[in-house]
């Protein structure tokens, strides 16, 4: 990640090394590498589900959190950035400053 999150040109995509399923409105994720299990709340699930590698994070946030929960766009984006950083650190989400294609983590 060379660009700043502030530019908005951040792209996210689930790592290949995960298993994931939505259970009602929560996403359950298991890392294949270390069997660590994660549970995302409904708003994080919305972001994860839209993480297609080609839609900028700022746009995902606008489409999901801002429109669904009617919250301030900047606050929502900051929260989303914290979330995706954490998930990337855990190795279950890919982050890039360019669209992420079919390449694997």
């Amino acid at each position: 990640m060379s660009k700043s999150f502030d530019s908005g040109d951040v792209y996210i995509k689930p790592s290949r090394d995960i298993a994931a399923r939505v259970m009602v409105d929560e996403m359950v994720i298991m890392s294949v590498k270390d069997s660590k299990v994660f549970s995302l709340n409904p708003s994080a699930t919305l972001i994860w589900s839209a993480a297609d590698g080609s839609t900028p994070l700022r746009e995902i946030v606008a489409r999901t959190l801002v429109s669904e929960f009617e919250i301030d766009a900047e606050t929502a984006y900051r929260d989303a950035v914290e979330l995706v950083k954490e998930l990337a650190q855990e190795g279950i989400l890919l982050l890039a400053d360019h669209p992420i294609g079919q390449e694997r983590a």
């Binding site: 298993a19 994931a20 399923r21 294949v32 069997s35 299990v37």
Partner: protein
């Protein structure tokens, strides 16, 4: 189990979601294990398209854990497309194989596809014993070679040891072997009847005395869920409302022919995915509904047993004994072996035999 997984399982049971499915993609096999509970003829197994459609339906139904097994699943020429599609649908995939067809290239591909765990059955560390069970000369060496390739490629591999009369004293050797190659180790001291109901395979089970020694062997602590335990506290009212196991509640089995059962060890025909949608069978099958209706209090013998709250009673084995609400003798034996306290079923049988005399 992590708290998240415990919550996930509770939620799945509460909401009626099939969290885990065991899918046999073939019953064909390149081994002929003496204790195997399956037939090995191909009676018209599902095509790739049928399996692909089924897996899509299962993902939509909420299935998270998918065990792909057989028979020997690697005998299918389309096993890699099946695994690839399973992973695209983001299942947590466990593969059960004998490893005979897995070399370096296959091991690397299984790892690349993101399969979570691979389980390989190793019956003995002695080639002559293992190979006599599989009836395939050189099978131990081939399976061990596959395990080494898979561990080297970064896969989590479990060496599963089925204890039977022929292998009674071999599990420490297999455990040592697992440690040497970097695999996990599990042990299962239960031989199950043939899926067609034939119970002659049970003659391979170890003796009661041997089972007691195995169940009390602290060197395999954690390798089996049925370890030495004191008799569990008496069952209270809350426990009586519990479900006997996850079969039909959050898990089920699908055969290569599309037949749905509550569990691989519970051959109660509950529908066929070639005739009905998976979710319709899961939700509305009268057989699965009956299985789901049973609570501990509904078990006429087991609910009165000293082991009722600590027993790993298998309703499928009970079903194969003739009554899904009845006791499972194999589990009675395990409870007795662990504690020295006979089960209610054992006491009843002893009383009945005495009366007959």
């Amino acid at each position: 189990m992590s708290t998240i997984l415990e919550n996930l399982n509770s939620k799945a049971i509460q909401l009626g979601i099939p969290l885990g499915v065991h899918l046999d993609v073939t019953w064909r096999c390149n081994e002929r294990c003496v204790h195997c509970y399956l037939d090995h003829d191909d009676l018209g197994e599902m095509s790739y398209d049928e399996i692909e459609d089924l897996m899509s339906q299962m993902a939509a139904a909420g299935v998270f854990f998918l065990t792909i097994s057989g028979g020997e699943p690697m005998l299918r020429s389309d096993i890699f497309p099946i695994l690839r599609r399973a992973r695209e649908l983001t299942f947590n995939v466990k593969l059960k194989t004998n490893g005979i067809l897995i070399r370096e290239k296959e091991a690397a591909l299984i790892r690349e596809l993101g399969v979570d765990t691979v389980q390989v059955s190793i019956y003995s560390h002695r080639p002559e014993v293992h190979d006599a069970i599989t009836k395939v000369k050189g099978s131990l060496e081939r399976s061990l070679s596959a395990i080494r390739f898979m561990v080297s490629s970064g896969l989590k591999v479990t060496m599963a040891n089925v204890v039977m009369k022929q292998t009674r004293f071999d599990y420490p050797g297999v455990q040592k072997l697992a440690a040497e190659v970097g695999a996990m180790f599990t042990i299962d001291p239960t031989i199950t009847p043939h899926i067609n109901g034939d119970r002659s395979l049970l003659a391979l089970n170890v003796s009661r005395e041997d089972l007691r020694d195995i169940m009390n062997d602290k060197t395999i602590a954690g390798a089996t869920e049925d370890q030495f335990v004191a008799v569990a506290p008496g069952a209270d009212e809350d426990y009586m409302d519990n479900i006997p196991c996850s079969a039909g509640h959050s898990a089920c089995y699908v055969s290569p022919y599309g037949d749905v059962y509550p569990c691989v060890q519970f051959p109660l025909p509950s529908g066929n995915v070639r005739q009905q949608k998976f979710i319709d069978i899961w939700k509305y099958s009268p057989q699965l509904e009956e299985v789901r209706s049973i609570r501990t209090r509904d078990l006429p013998v087991c609910s009165t047993c000293a082991h009722s709250s600590g027993c790993s009673r298998c309703p499928g084995l009970a079903y194969m004994e003739g009554n899904m609400r009845g006791p499972s003798t194999a589990d009675c034996e395990k409870s007795f072996a662990s504690t020295g306290v006979p089960s209610a079923n054992m006491l009843l049988r002893a009383a009945s035999q005495k009366a007959d005399r």
